[in-house]
């Protein structure tokens, strides 16, 4: 037994304290839940309605991956591939890897990034200054990404989803989780649950393969790292232990390379433009080095030409980072009380596991080659979709997911020492009680400071909430007894109840970390976003025109690159005409908000008309190549059908392959 610390002042309270909400009786419609993998680099949405096999939903161009990049260069945000086009022209208005900023204050951000963080209004949250006197919180940026995925789901389901499961790194703390939940709410989604990414991967993998036994999930994404050990048995997915680092990922590999390139270019204080270009080139180089032994990097803005980087050079840069993840692997095996050889398999998740050095070291640590039969990009979204289907009320017989709390929860006691009430890796739901006593007769109140983390001192842990307990009867030391109960539900939502045993006086708080963005502000943002949807129609129209123009520009450019040099497909004169239109279109694009919607439409139409013949020739060629041996009539039939499609697709420069 120990004495809780007494604190009179309640400054720096991170919490909103209120009566715990009653459990609502939700209306859920089986089959209308969606699973979202909100990744650092890419995001995906998947469904698995009524027990069906999960599938990822594609965008209009057949692509499952939505780059997690949002451009605020124009008045209305542009998300995904097109946002990436703005990165160099508007380096501080295009936000990539926002996940690393979720639930963090400006002070928490210890790495180099091209953004301007404004911290005038409060200190607890990072805000991106995106120009034109506008700022965006990480929650708003994430909500913009989620909206695109939501509309993808609406198109597929034919109605609004009843709810979503959004995946988060297992090692996210409560502030990061709450920020993610708020982003979902802001995007108009009802968040059924936040599911740990490695757990989602195990769910998808286990149900797909029918595997049994102990499995390790090594999940290295763009910005976060998780490792989990699960036991799969008869449809029950039991997480035994989880660990990781919510600030370690492929972005750190890129940054290591960026630092080296800055050294080579002898630049000490790079501009945002330089940083954006460096990040893009470094990532491309890292990806190329998965297959190639060496690559040449050119970074125009830094005056770097054909700088050669070898795979072993990259390995040297990132070895300390990858080793860090291996230390977490050994710790998690120890927590699960298992030896590496007892595992049936190790599953790799996340794009960064494509890096050869990562595979090598995983193999060394777990003493087996990782399983290679899954798509590391999709498996998390698949698992989220299965979970969403379950939580929408579908019958999936016998499947149960027993997840754990990743970080210990405790109370600050005398001397700032943490008394752990619920240790990490406890299966949820769980409740735990502890009795505390008074230290003096004069003590009539107690402040319970609820903290999260593994460190011994409360200052080194993350403070979640303060609960004031008053009216303790005046009794000799150690005679007044307060029983504190921590209840974690299946959503890992914590409710803390304190009860004075002599008088039965009880106080309760639902612990909701606010990480600086209060409930009021969330509500305001939601109503604002609804108002904007009405008022800002013109701006939206402009943005959409810009998106459409961007799509055509991208398609024409790709087509010229792919087949422009083939005989008879594109004459020099035609290439010149298309080039002129492309250029003026790109000038309009770079004006961002300043270009009128009609100008953008005109530019698109001109580009389409000047490249229409080229598109037609290209299509014919593709069809001829694909249908050798067919009669002319058959080909014409297909062509006619395709032309309908072509009209719908506007421009028709889809990337057919010519083999």
């Amino acid at each position: 037994m120990s004495n809780p610390k007494i604190s009179v002042a309640d400054s720096g309270a991170l919490m909103q304290i209120g009566e715990p909400e009653r459990i609502k009786t939700p209306s859920r419609e089986p089959g209308f839940g969606i699973g979202i993998d909100l990744g650092t680099t890419h995001s995906l949405v998947a469904i698995a309605p009524m027990g069906a096999a999960p599938r990822v939903l594609l965008d209009g161009e057949g692509d499952p991956l939505l780059p997690s990049v949002v451009s605020y260069a124009g008045p209305v945000p542009v998300i995904g591939k097109l946002a990436q086009l703005d990165r160099l022209a508007h380096p501080t208005a295009v936000i990539a890897s926002v996940k690393r900023f979720m639930g963090r204050s400006g002070e928490d951000i210890g790495f180099r990034h091209p953004y301007t963080l404004s911290r005038e209004r409060d200190e607890k949250i990072a805000r991106f200054d995106v120009g034109q006197i506008r700022s965006r919180t990480p929650v708003e940026v994430s909500a913009d990404i989620l909206r695109v995925l939501r509309s993808r789901a609406v198109r597929e389901l034919g109605s609004e989803p009843t709810g979503a499961v959004i995946t988060v790194p297992a090692y996210f703390d409560d502030a990061q989780r709450q920020a993610t939940k708020d982003a979902g709410k802001l995007a108009g989604l009802r968040v059924f649950r936040l599911l740990a990414e490695p757990t989602a991967a195990a769910l998808a993998y286990g149900l797909d393969t029918g595997s049994q036994g102990y499995f390790g999930i090594y999940d290295l994404g763009g910005g976060t790292f998780d490792v989990s050990i699960l036991r799969l048995r008869d449809g029950v997915f039991q997480v035994l232990a989880t660990g990781g680092d919510s600030a370690l990922g492929g972005d750190d590999f890129d940054r290591a390379l960026v630092a080296q390139l800055l050294d080579v270019a002898q630049i000490e204080d790079p501009t945002p433009e330089q940083l954006q270009e460096l990040e893009m080139r470094a990532r491309a180089a890292k990806e190329a080095l998965t297959d190639a032994e060496d690559v040449a990097i050119t970074v125009e803005s830094c005056g770097l030409r054909d700088h050669r980087v070898t795979r072993s050079g990259l390995n040297e840069l990132i070895t300390p980072l990858v080793r860090r993840s291996m230390a977490a692997c050994r710790k998690v095996l120890k927590d699960a009380k298992l030896a590496a050889r007892e595992l049936q398999g190790i599953v790799l998740v996340g794009g960064s596991t494509r890096v050869p050095l990562v595979r090598e070291l995983v193999e060394e640590t777990f003493r087996r080659s990782p399983l290679a039969d899954i798509d590391p990009d999709r498996v998390v979204a698949h698992g989220a979709a299965i979970s969403a289907d379950l939580l929408s009320g579908s019958e999936r017989d016998g499947v149960a997911l027993l997840d754990v709390v990743p970080l210990s929860l405790g109370l600050e006691t005398m001397g700032g020492i943490v008394e752990k009430i619920i240790p990490r890796n406890s299966t949820i739901p769980i409740s735990a009680r502890q009795v505390f006593t008074n230290y003096s007769e004069k003590q009539t109140g107690m402040t319970l400071h609820i903290v999260q983390g593994e460190r011994e001192l409360a200052d080194d842990c993350r403070g979640l909430a303060r609960l004031e307990l008053s009216g303790i009867p005046q009794l000799p030391p150690s005679m007044a007894r307060v029983e504190v109960t921590f209840q974690l539900d299946a959503d890992a939502l914590l409710t803390v109840t304190a009860r004075e045993l002599m008088t039965g006086r009880k106080q309760s708080v639902e612990v909701k970390p606010t990480y600086g963005l209060g409930e009021d502000e969330i509500d305001r943002l939601i109503s604002e976003s609804m108002e904007c949807a009405q008022e800002d129609f013109d701006a939206r129209d402009r943005a959409e025109s810009r998106v459409e123009l961007g799509r055509v520009v991208l398609a024409v450019r790709t087509a010229i690159e792919e087949v422009g040099n083939l005989d008879g497909l594109l004459s020099a004169a035609e290439r010149g005409r298309i080039g002129t239109e492309l250029e003026s279109a790109e000038v309009l694009m770079s004006l961002a908000g300043a270009a009128r919607s009609s100008e953008l439409h005109t530019a698109r139409e001109r580009l389409e008309s000047v490249s229409a013949k080229f598109a037609q020739r290209r299509m014919e060629r593709a069809l001829n190549a694909g249908m050798g041996g067919k009669t002319l009539a058959e080909i014409e039939q297909v062509l006619a059908a395709d032309e309908v499609n072509l009209d719908q697709k506007r421009g028709g420069h889809e990337a057919e392959r010519i083999d």
């Binding site: 009786t25 939700p26 149960a400 299966t427 949820i428 209840q487 299946a490």
Partner: protein, 188 residues
């Protein structure tokens, strides 16, 4: 000692009995020597049945009951799967709470012999630490073996209905566990 306990496997969500012992909740006999498999099988079956995810669309009362059941099941699993916690829990059910200082119902006060032995072991630890890792590892092995023997002894005493003796052995086991933590800390 095998005592038949009422099985809850056919119980539904209609009520929650907070006073049920972990053994009764799991439908297992209250004994020291339970195989891992038995505990695991019961745990998986109960989890599948009571996990709150199965009741998401149901009324508030069902959800609250599912939460209570699941929390108790997970708590019970933590105790039953761990041989030491299981033994301490059995002794608690039999009337001696090792977490309490109460004279009649609390942990037995350690006798002079144990305290003298512990002082000796602490001195040994200091000496081993100065001699290096090899000496520490050796001491760790010796203390672990002694702790295992004590746990066996506690279980044997409990099965003979000598609850006080079992409690005494478990108190000594706690001392050794703390010592093992210190050895571990000295190793790093």
């Amino acid at each position: 000692m095998v005592v038949a306990t009422p099985s809850v496997f056919d119980a539904d969500l209609s009520s929650f009995d907070a006073g049920l012992s972990h053994f009764a909740r799991f439908g297992l006999p209250p004994t020291c020597d339970l195989s891992h498999d038995l505990v695991d099988d019961a745990y998986l079956e109960l989890s599948r049945r009571f996990h709150p995810d199965r009741f998401v669309g149901r009324d508030a009362r069902s959800q609250r009951l599912a939460l209570q059941h699941s929390s108790a099941i997970n708590e019970g699993y933590n105790v039953l799967r761990d041989r030491v916690r299981r033994a301490e829990y059995l002794v608690k059910l039999a009337g001696i709470d090792l977490d309490s200082n109460d004279r009649s119902r609390g942990a037995p006060v350690p006798d002079q012999r144990l305290l003298v032995e512990m002082i000796g072991r602490r001195e040994e630890l200091e000496e081993c630490a100065s001699r290096g890792m090899k000496a520490l590892a050796e001491m760790q092995r010796t203390v672990e073996a002694r702790a295992d023997a004590l746990l066996d002894e506690a279980c044997a005493e409990f099965e003979r209905d000598e609850v006080k003796n079992a409690a005494r052995a478990l108190v000594e086991h706690r001392y050794l566990r703390r010592l093992l933590d210190e050895i571990e800390a000295a190793c790093t």
